[in-house]
Amino acid sequence: MIDFGNPVHLIAFVVMAIGLFFDIVGCLGLVRLPDVYNRLQAGTKCVTLGTFLILLGVLIRFGFDAMGVKALLCLWFIAMTSPTAAHAIARAAHKAGFPLWKGSVVDRYAGSKEDPKGVAS
């Protein structure tokens, strides 16, 4: 199915390989990092970019036919919703008052007017 002589297939394959690399690094970060805020950063930035690149590879592979447009729609939806969900999780964690990791140096949300109670870290 994959034809390395075809430049379009080759570009799609390279893009998908980069996406897989970001996916696996994101999973590693999710397992290894110390608290929920750090894990959010690994678990959403890397995995969103990885998914984005893999679906972009599908789009490059097929061009703008039925499958490519479905991949584009899926890609757009991931790019919109995944950061939104991450933001909501971070906000809920801060509102519930989870403490920051002891190595964290700054918490600009605490004490801002958005913060209802001014929960310090």
Partner: protein
């Protein structure tokens, strides 16, 4: 059966297993929720790759699109519930302090 796609599927599955470890052991509810969200996102990738393996990518991309919608709505719904019930009471949902 193309070896490139088989390897990709195995890599994604290994990543999902690693995240599942975080979902099971994660000290707070939000860690678990984040893990479930990430597993849902990776399921979309998995469906796209399985579509290549089954030689019917369009069909599987439909399922992936529906899965993306459900995943986002589930995360937001659980967070609404969480914010309403546990505002300012982190200790109620924390089993151990993150070190």
């Amino acid at each position: 059966m193309d070896i490139v796609y088989v390897v990709s599927v195995v890599v994604v599955l290994v990543g999902m297993l690693a995240v599942l470890k975080r979902v099971i052991s994660g000290p707070t509810l939000l860690d678990r929720l984040l893990g479930v969200n990430v597993i849902g996102t990776k399921t979309i990738v998995l469906l796209a790759l399985i579509g290549f393996l089954a030689d019917r990518p369009g069909f599987f991309l439909d399922i992936a699109l529906a899965y993306a919608l459900i995943n986002f709505i589930a995360t937001i719904a659980v967070l609404r519930h969480f914010e309403a019930r546990f505002r300012g009471r982190a200790s109620a949902v924390t089993e151990e302090e993150p070190s």
